[in-house]
């Protein structure tokens, strides 16, 4: 177990390092000078130079990278060019919208998809299997932001059950805030749930054709007992990977969905950053999300080891 963990941990750190280099370099090739951009068209060259000095833009590339990384390690993302406040604060506020939204969507997606996928596999080639497969086929094809618009059209404009957008803040009460996140979470979750249900189904079908399933049946287990005791746990291994990957899809997808619902999350922050060419904000959010994805991948690897004893003993 320990060598396995250690190996995963090293790979985690290397991935983070490589990702940070890539993100840093991408931002270096941006045309235009952030200092002159911040000061506007009519700024004096001396003032621009002074600001460049102050922002550390004249330092060598490697030095700037190291300063940036050192800052990140302390939770210091730098100062937003437009808001003139620490980016850490901006992100922290927005995270309280985006993260709950992604988690909400992930829960919805998993809770819908796993039972649906299991039922579909257990009743393979039945009417319900065909129905489920057809529905998921459709679910995969629907762009989530369009689905979000349809939800708004139906539940907000026609039925008036939900507001069409905006976020009252967690101070307005947990359920009020949760309600505001419900349509966005559904819009995010359903396409993902469709994918997950299909993965669950096919993984379970693969597992059900394994030799040890036949062995279990020969012991006298019923179909249902075999499914629950022997198939599902083994089938979870590929499903875990997809759940891990989906979290990153959901975080990124949230960026678009937040736009549809006017939610003050990381997505809005990123787009404001892009339109105002406040690229350090964009850079920081991207780094944060990549960090989240890599950590989640690591956690998924740990979950593997819990499910699969073969990994525990392997170095």
């Amino acid at each position: 177990m320990v060598p396995y963990l250690l190996k995963r941990l090293i790979s985690l750190l290397l991935s983070l390092l490589a990702a940070s280099v890539v993100i840093f370099l991408v931002l270096q090739v941006v045309p235009g000078d952030p200092a002159s951009y911040m000061l506007g068209m009519n700024a004096q060259p001396e003032t621009v130079e002074a600001l460049r000095q102050q922002m550390g833009l004249n330092e060598p590339l490697v030095w700037r990278y190291l300063t940036w990384i050192a800052g990140l390690a302390h939770g210091n993302f730098g100062i937003s060019y437009t808001y003139k406040v620490p980016i850490g604060e901006l992100i922290a506020q927005r995270l309280w919208v985006s993260l709950p939204l992604a988690i909400y969507a992930l829960l919805l997606s998993t809770l819908i998809a796993l039972p649906v996928g299991i039922i579909s596999a257990a009743k393979r080639n039945s009417a319900s299997d065909y129905g489920i497969m057809g529905a998921t086929q459709l679910g995969i094809a629907v762009p989530n932001f369009w689905f979000a618009m349809l939800l708004v059209l139906f539940f907000s404009i026609t039925l008036r059950w939900f507001s069409a957008g905006g976020f009252p803040g967690w101070n307005a009460g947990f359920f009020v805030a949760l309600k505001a996140l419900t349509l966005p979470a559904i819009a995010l979750a359903l396409p993902q749930a469709s994918i997950l249900a299909r993965v669950m189904r096919s993984s379970l079908l693969d597992t059900l054709s394994e030799d040890y399933i036949r062995t279990a049946r020969a012991k006298g287990l019923t179909r249902g007992q075999t499914l629950v005791r022997h198939a599902v746990r083994n089938a979870m291994i590929p499903v875990l990977t997809i759940i891990g990957l989906q979290f990153s899809f959901l975080l990124a997808g949230a960026i678009i969905i937040e736009n549809v619902f006017y939610l003050p999350g990381l997505g809005r922050l990123v787009f404001q950053g892009i339109t105002q060419r406040d690229l350090i904000v964009v850079q920081s959010v991207v780094m944060l999300l990549v960090f989240a994805v890599i950590v989640i991948t690591f956690l998924v690897d740990l979950a593997y080891a819990l499910v699969d004893p073969r990994l525990r003993s392997r170095a």
Partner: protein
């Protein structure tokens, strides 16, 4: 999920393909959109970029089949031209992914366990660690929004998909005895990859290609929805949806038709992919004969 290698029967693959209902349906839908895109080069009911304030926000009618938008442009014509952009972006992006990913994957498999393999696979993992859409946004944000940058952004994320697929499938083949036989016949890794491996994994690549194609359509729609895809006045499905959003209570038809176009195209491609997978899957093949 498991996809097998091409069954040994060669004849009648095309005929077998149309025995699969999924494939036939998916092929038909996809063909309609491709034909519409091609037709748009020579003919559309109206000029897709012509503004006409008098005609704005008209619902579907015999004059404007899918209605008009807030500038009075004909939505049917815009969807036809939009199909062109979406399909082109997704197609080229899949092309980039295959052209770069497949050779990398084959190379890694041929040198399994070597430093080359390790570097290629780690680089792949790294790309996978980035949420694709987010990086596409970053790239288009940095280099400016355009269809070309959208293609590059989507294409980059196709590379590791094909590299992994090619490597995994090739590794299985490298343990086959006919590959040993080819090695005993003195053939090198490059020759074996081209002669024995690539033709035998082509079916997997085609299936994955259709899936990536459909994902490309979705990604392109998302990028142009947030204004980072093809720029106006070129119509694109995603942009039509973002225009529709502000008008959703006034003119829902503006959202319905482009959205339906996306769904149908993606559905068509996915059905085609599923159909192909069934045809290529030797397990199903056996039960059919």
């Amino acid at each position: 999920m498991s996809v097998g290698f091409l069954p040994e029967r060669k004849r009648g693959l095309w005929a077998a393909a149309f025995q699969s209902k999924s494939f036939a349906l998916g092929f038909a839908v996809t063909a309609i959109f491709i034909l519409a895109a091609l037709l748009s080069f020579v003919w559309t009911p109206y000029d897709a970029t012509a503004l006409s304030v008098a005609e704005k926000l008209k619902g579907p009618s015999t004059v404007h089949w899918f209605g008009t938008d807030h500038f009075g442009r004909d939505i049917f014509s815009m969807i036809m031209v939009g199909a062109r952009t979406s399909i082109a972006v997704a197609f080229v992006a899949v092309g980039i992914g295959m052209a770069a990913g497949v050779p990398l994957g084959l190379w890694a498999a041929a040198k399994q366990g070597s430093l080359v393999d390790e570097v290629i696979m780690r680089a792949n993992d790294l790309v996978f660690a980035f949420p694709a859409l987010l990086i596409a946004i970053l790239i288009t944000a940095v280099f400016g929004p355009s269809a070309i940058n959208a293609i590059i952004a989507i294409g980059i994320f196709n590379i590791p998909v094909f590299a992994r697929l090619a490597r995994g499938a090739a590794l299985t083949l490298w343990t086959r005895e006919y590959i040993f036989a080819a090695r005993v016949a003195g053939k090198g890794a490059l020759r074996i990859s081209a002669e024995h491996i690539l033709p035998n994994i082509l079916n997997l690549l085609i299936v994955q290609g259709t899936i990536q194609f459909s994902l490309g359509i979705l990604a392109d729609a998302a990028l142009s929805y947030v204004g980072l895809g093809a720029q106006p006045p070129t119509p694109s499905w995603g942009r039509m949806l973002s225009d529709a959003q502000t008008m959703i209570s006034l003119a829902p038809h503006m959202a319905l038709f482009p959205g339906a176009a996306i769904v149908l195209t993606v559905l068509g491609l996915n059905l085609m992919g599923d159909g192909l997978r069934d045809i290529f899957d030797p397990k199903l093949q056996r039960s059919r004969t």
